[in-house]
């Protein structure tokens, strides 16, 4: 049996919604937006969606070393505006974030604008209407926005990732408010992310990446897979990302039209990764001398005018999903570099 944490505290409120919300704001229990009050009755509705003990610890979250129990996660999900049926996705995401491989210690506290991106694969994405089509990284879809927000509230309220103290982000990112997407499996020419990892297609899986917000890759002009890939490689092989600084496991989210063009011209996912490993590079000589020195001394880059710096150690370190609607746009998510590895969990139903 899993370890149990303390029962969540119950706070009595007598006032109207405005008073409750004002109190949450004053206590710093919110991301800045108004919250939905997590009444005992509402939290209980959410707890019906899991067979696990409300006090079961899903993960211990730094920097506070807060025990994220099922009940506390449910309360934050209510606050975020979730529907009860979103809870299993959030539980799986929190469990994945607490995996030591993800290195939540650093992700929470760093000056880098890293945010956990929650990628959902499998049938649950369709059932909950987690958007993987038009504007999937944007506004307008309750599941995406509130699941992402619930995870952020847990990281703040349980983990203590509070701006200026436990979260020292220099600038942060809008992705830190809510960052959740489904893969557009229906329009992918390839096996989806979880199937690539060995799960049956009908299993629902959450994969979390510690990454920047989406960096757009526009190519309206190429009509070959090679052409699109050259643009993608150009965008990914950029100075300033943590991946160029120190490799890691970046994510590429191809729009369905780009993906179709690339796949039509014979590229499997593995071939795309090989191409990007070779071509998503930045010339050492274009960096300033001190940055060059860092690459030479720490990464063994050759001090030569022809040296091209890669963003990953190996082709397979790049993850690929297909996301979005019609149009000639893709994006990539530079990650927190070597400081975080993506993790995944099966969504228990």
């Amino acid at each position: 049996m899993s370890a149990l944490g303390p029962a969540a505290k119950v706070v009595e409120f007598a006032g109207a919604f405005e008073d409750i919300d004002a109190d949450y704001q004053a206590r710093g229990w919110t991301d800045g937006l108004p919250i939905v009050p997590p009444t005992e009755a509402r939290v209980r509705e959410f707890l019906k969606l899991t067979r696990r003990d409300p006090r079961e610890i899903v993960g211990v979250l730094p920097p506070r070393q807060g025990e994220a129990t099922i009940e506390k996660i449910a309360a934050n999900a209510v606050m975020a505006g979730c529907k009860p049926e979103y809870l299993p996705v959030i539980l799986a995401a929190i469990e994945a974030l607490a995996d030591p491989l993800f290195n939540l210690d650093s992700v929470q506290a760093t000056t880098h604008p890293v945010a956990p991106l929650i990628v959902v694969n499998g049938p649950i994405a369709r059932e909950l209407e987690i958007n993987g089509g038009y504007n999937c990284f944007g506004q307008g879809f309750r599941a995406n926005v509130t699941i992402g927000r619930a995870v952020r509230l847990v990281l703040m309220n349980v983990g203590g990732g509070l701006p200026g103290s436990g979260d020292r982000a220099t600038q942060g990112s809008p992705a830190k408010l809510a960052y959740c997407v489904a893969e557009n499996e229906a329009e992918s020419p390839w096996e989806p992310l979880h199937v690539e990892a060995g799960f049956p297609g009908e299993t629902s899986v959450v994969t979390v990446f510690g990454c920047e917000g989406p960096h757009n890759i526009q190519d309206h002009f190429s009509n070959t897979g090679l052409g699109v890939l050259r643009t993608v490689a150009g965008a990914m092989g950029q100075a300033g990302s943590n991946n160029l600084l120190g490799w890691g496991w970046p994510l590429l989210a191809l729009g369905p039209e780009h993906a179709a063009t690339i796949a039509r011209d014979g590229y499997s996912k593995a071939k795309v990764k090989e191409f990007l490993f070779e071509h998503a590079r930045f010339p050492l000589a274009r960096l300033g001398r001190e940055y060059q020195q860092q690459q030479i001394e720490r990464h063994g880059a050759m001090d030569a005018p022809s040296t091209m710096l890669s963003i990953v150690r190996r082709p397979e370190d790049i993850s690929i999903i297909v996301a979005g609607g019609a149009g000639k746009h893709s994006c990539w998510q530079p990650t927190f570099g070597d400081g975080t590895h993506f993790t995944r969990r099966v969504i228990e139903r």
């Binding site: 730094p62 920097p63 506070r64 070393q65 203590g160 103290s165 436990g166 020292r168």
Partner: protein, 68 residues
């Protein structure tokens, strides 16, 4: 953590991040973790400044890695 594995360790940082370091140490049950701190920043400074800052904490670092 490294200390617990027998590796002598000194935590260095800048005063800017002292509250975070103390918070993390406390939450991990090592509130008395010695910190060797210098004025902010550590990045983006010239070598002479690096040496000047190193001089400020060399004693604290030696003490941290040699204490029993």
């Amino acid at each position: 953590m490294l200390e617990q594995r027998g590796v002598p360790t000194a935590v260095m940082g800048t005063f800017e991040f002292e509250p975070l370091a103390r918070l993390e140490a406390k939450n991990r049950g090592i509130a008395d973790l010695p910190l060797a701190l210098v004025p902010h920043p550590l990045g983006g400074i010239k070598e002479d400044e690096v040496l000047r800052k190193a001089d400020l904490v060399i004693e604290a670092v030696l003490k941290a890695v040699t204490r029993a």
